[in-house]
């Protein structure tokens, strides 16, 4: 299989009144699989709502680099691999 596609950041909240928290990231070949992987990987809580977004959709505001890119431009924020 050629590569695992791209990295998606995962956000979730337990109650409607809660704010979304960043719970992790998954690598997936497409958005459909990213949704499945996120739901099944970060199943530590009974989430009211979960959402995913491609990591490269996030734009930097006050820092030179966009978030979730701890290890440099290619990115190495935690994914399921490193949990």
């Amino acid at each position: 299989m050629s590569g695992n596609g791209q990295v998606y950041e995962v956000f979730a909240r337990k109650k409607r009144a809660d704010r979304f928290e960043h719970v992790g990231a998954v690598s997936a070949p497409n958005e459909q699989l990213a949704r499945v992987y996120a739901w099944q990987t970060y199943d530590e809580a009974k989430w009211f709502e979960m959402t995913v977004a491609p990591r490269d959709a996030f734009a930097a505001v006050n820092r030179p680099q966009a978030p979730f890119t701890l290890g440099g431009p290619s990115g190495s924020a935690p994914t399921a691999d490193s949990r």
């Binding site: 299989m1 050629s2 695992n4 596609g5 998954v26 690598s27 997936a28 070949p29 497409n30 459909q32 699989l33 949704r35 499945v36 992987y37 739901w39 099944q40 990987t41 199943d43 994914t79 399921a80 691999d81």
Partner: protein, 274 residues
Amino acid sequence: MTESGFRSAEDLPEGVSEHLGDLILALADNKRLLGIRYSDWLLGAPSVEAGIACSAMAQDEWGHARILYAMLRDFGHDPTALEHERGAGEYHSSELLDRDVASWEEFLALNFLWDTALSVQFEMLAESRYEPIHYKVRKLLDEERFHFDHGQGWTARLLSAEGGRQALTGAFGAAWNACLCWFGAEDDPLIGTLAAHGIVRRDAAGARARWLEQVGPLAAETGLAREADSVWASTREPVWEGYLARRRRAAEGGPDEDSLARVRGDRNRELLMD
């Protein structure tokens, strides 16, 4: 149509109870076996995330099978005997699940085509006149949504690569007839009776059409389905030869020895002390 429901198998009209018991047993056995096939890919899947998904799907299937076996108590079965004491010839599971899955594309034929075929049959039971199944089916279908997304997402991914498309065409072609037959022939005694009494919502052709609506758009890319006037149809006619309506499979036989030992939990039971 206002029809009264049935609160237990005892209330079902004559002949219906046996057919419904057989259908629930077929669903339970298929899920138990499918869970094993899923669990075999925890480590061999194309990515860590896919492995986690296989693990979650395996757990779902085993949970569903457990619930279904327990339901069969209402039909006069002993769930423990069903789960642990049957021989291969007594399993009502598809021939697709008789042995190990050799490749990721064969896995996808089970995950996308077969698992969806099972879920469609559950959809048919969601508004069944047999009421004890309602709540269970709803929860089960909620979980199955992710199985469908996984199967569809990976099928789409493989179809986008030349080698993947070719491999999928072979694997889907090999599983296709079993899926068509699962819903039953026009004169299928089991599905026919259940549909006539409102135990399942649609007859064999109706359920098959619903399945084709779900898998058709991607299966079309392997030449197995086509759309005409917004209706999805199979490009192949089902071959019924040898099909056993009661056991919902194409031939006698059953899971191979290794699979059987695993579904029954033979080794684990050796450790039990009474």
